[in-house]
């Protein structure tokens, strides 16, 4: 399938981390075009493009930009969410290390569109290499005099998944613990420093130059209805060719996993697929023809999320998967809302009991009940991100769970997730130096 990349366009042909190469490939032409347009026209193009946020929630970018409060007497801020931390997701990282100038160009165009002079890029602290690349690219842009009075500040996080949630990110950027705020007020009205703020994901912002180049009406013809354009899909797990692949939305999952990804290694069978990062409900092997777009995933009772496709082969124990996922969210719960803080802990305890073969059938229902008591009951979606996938594992792989209870232990001796040490466990174990 010939695929014309948009976000990663040109990255195969040159070193686009260098401004000269990026310009030779047509870079910053969209910026010049945009700056000759009225700001409102930029937002119109974003609306016409129907581009939906690439961070996970899929909210239309143009709509978000149009919500920004006007005439408040306060500055308007653009905040780029580069805190990519959803397990399975590593696309923004690739965008930053391969086409950093496209992200910066997207920032400058968007800033013009929302009449902002201040841009903050919040990049997760672990991405040191990508931070250095972005910093060097930004220096080149500054020297080339392209900023036109806009300041772009690169702000590094310090290790907290929750800071990918927009209001937690704002708190963190304001120098606080990264705990989500209650909404309303929404960031479009009171965001960073209580001022109108637009927060968008790296991939979304890096797409803006292409939307301006092509025009929103043309961009929306890429992909499928309700899912315009391309996505950089992150493919990982039990697949031959893991990596990031930019494909039109609507591409069948099968094509990504088998044609592009080379299928499952060592002749094993597919068991399950997580289609949008660890927080979304799982798909079974027979759903592998589902298309990678927002509506098709919703029809399959899951979500496209961050576009992170995790492939799971038939050795894997779904109880262990649930446990590892729950351990992650327990570790990352900020502690502000009780259902999430306590519920994720309960999920881990019940799943450990099931995995060890110590559970009764009633505890499957208890687990689902705990999930239900988290869902929709917190300020932010982190708790949901634990409850939704785990409930789906029980629902769609109930036999895996039942067998643990019936057989008094785990029936999957070759599962790669067997006793994998999670950071939450590491904190608990005693200090012990080997002889």
């Amino acid at each position: 399938v010939p695929v014309e990349p948009l976000v990663l366009k040109g990255a195969e042909d040159g070193d686009l981390t260098q401004i000269d190469d990026y310009r030779a490939a047509g870079g910053f032409e969209s910026l010049a075009k945009a700056r000759a347009m009225e700001p409102a026209k930029i937002v119109d193009e974003l609306l016409a493009s129907n581009i939906r946020g690439r961070g996970g929630a899929g909210f239309p970018m143009g709509k978000k930009a149009s919500f920004l409060a006007k005439g408040t007497g306060k500055p308007t801020y653009l905040v780029v969410n580069a805190d990519e931390s959803e397990p399975g997701t590593f696309k923004d990282r690739e965008i930053m290390f391969r086409v950093p100038h496209r992200l910066i160009e997207g920032c400058l165009i968007t800033a013009h569109g929302i009449e902002s002079k201040n841009v903050f890029i919040y990049i997760r602290g672990e991405y040191l290499h990508e931070f250095e690349i972005l910093r060097a690219a930004l220096d080149q842009v500054r020297e080339a005099d392209l900023l036109d009075g806009v300041t772009i500040v690169l702000h590094r996080g310090a290790g907290a998944y929750i800071c990918g949630e927009e209001t937690a990110l704002l708190e963190s950027l304001e120098g606080k613990r990264g705990q989500p705020r209650s909404k309303p007020p929404f960031p479009a009205v009171q965001g960073l420093y209580a001022s109108p703020s637009l927060i968008n994901n790296v991939e979304t912002v890096a797409t803006v130059p292409l939307i301006i180049e092509m025009g929103g009406a043309k961009y929306t013809k890429e992909g499928v209805e309700n899912s315009a354009g391309t996505r950089v899909f992150s493919l990982s797990g039990n697949v031959v060719n893991g990596g990031n692949y930019e494909l039109p939305l609507g591409t069948p999952l099968r094509e990504l996993i088998y044609d592009i990804g080379g299928g499952i290694p060592d002749g094993r069978a597919l068991k399950a697929v997580i289609p949008g990062g660890s927080s979304v409900p799982v798909l079974t092997a027979d759903q592998v023809d589902t298309a990678l777009d927002f509506d098709s995933m919703a029809a399959a009772k899951t979500m496209l999320g961050s576009g992170a496709v995790i492939v799971i082969d038939d050795r894997c124990c779904m109880v262990q998967l649930g446990l590892r996922v729950a351990q992650f969210y327990m570790h990352e719960s900020c502690g502000k809302c009780t259902p999430c803080r306590e519920g994720t802990r309960w999920m881990v305890q019940i799943l450990e009991k099931i995995e060890d073969g110590r559970a009764e059938y009633e505890e499957l229902d208890l687990l689902l009940d705990v999930c239900d008591r988290i869902l929709g009951k917190c300020l932010c979606p982190l708790g949901d991100a634990a409850a939704m996938p785990v409930a789906s594992y029980v629902d769609r792989f109930r036999d895996d769970f039942r067998r643990h209870i019936d057989e008094g232990g785990c029936p999957f001796p070759d599962s790669p997730l067997d006793h994998v040490l999670a950071p939450v466990d590491q904190h608990a174990h005693d200090v012990h130096v080997l002889a």
Binding site: S85, E86, P87, G88, T89, F90, R93, N118, G125, E126, Y127, L128, H129, T151, H155, R156, G157, A158, G159, A160, Y161, S172, L173, E174, G175, K176, G178, Y193, S234, L235, S236, G237, N238, G242, G243, N244, S278, A308, I310, V311, D313, C316, R324, V325, F328, H331, E332, C334, P416, L417, V420, L421, A422, P423, Q426, H427, V431, H432, V433, L434
Partner: protein, 152 residues
């Protein structure tokens, strides 16, 4: 350090925003964040040491206790675990003679597991002083440890 912190703070409309970069600077200077580090950051930004400690304790990359000169972090989240992260971790444990979460007695190495590092398709991801190596397989570990030991 105080001067550098104030330079960073000038980039923001509110100097409090400089807390994370300031803590990072202090940690780079001292290896970990001790009482004096918090006093220094607090002084530079006109905050209290308690406030700075409260912020630091929220984030995984800030060390409230000493860590080894070489911080070895192994991602054991789902994607890496599916391709053998536990075996990679165990190989580091055996080569370094310490368990995950520990620092070697000579203070040279700290080994720990981390949550998703964002290299899922290139797993297992191992970060050594925040420089990623990917993919790392259990077989690669002896050579990596030897390299780290000879680097002093």
């Amino acid at each position: 350090v105080i001067e550098r912190i104030r330079e960073i703070a000038a980039q923001y409309p509110d100097s409090r925003s400089a807390v994370l970069p300031a803590l990072r600077l202090a940690q780079e200077e001292r290896g970990h964040l001790d009482r004096e580090a918090f006093e220094e950051v607090a002084f530079a930004l006109d905050l209290t040491p308690a406030y700075c400690t409260g912020v630091a304790s929220f984030y995984d990359m800030f060390h409230l206790d000493p860590v080894g000169a070489q911080l070895v972090e192994v991602c054991t989240n789902v994607s890496c675990a599916l391709v053998g992260a536990q075996q990679v971790l165990e190989a580091f444990e055996s080569e370094l003679g310490i368990r995950a979460g520990e620092t070697s007695e000579d203070g040279r190495f700290t080994l720990r597991t981390v949550e998703c590092a964002g290299g899922c398709g290139w797993g297992t991801v191992v970060a050594i002083n925040h420089r990623y190596r990917e993919p790392v397989r259990a077989d690669d570990v002896p050579a990596i440890v030897e390299e780290l030991r000879s680097a002093g």
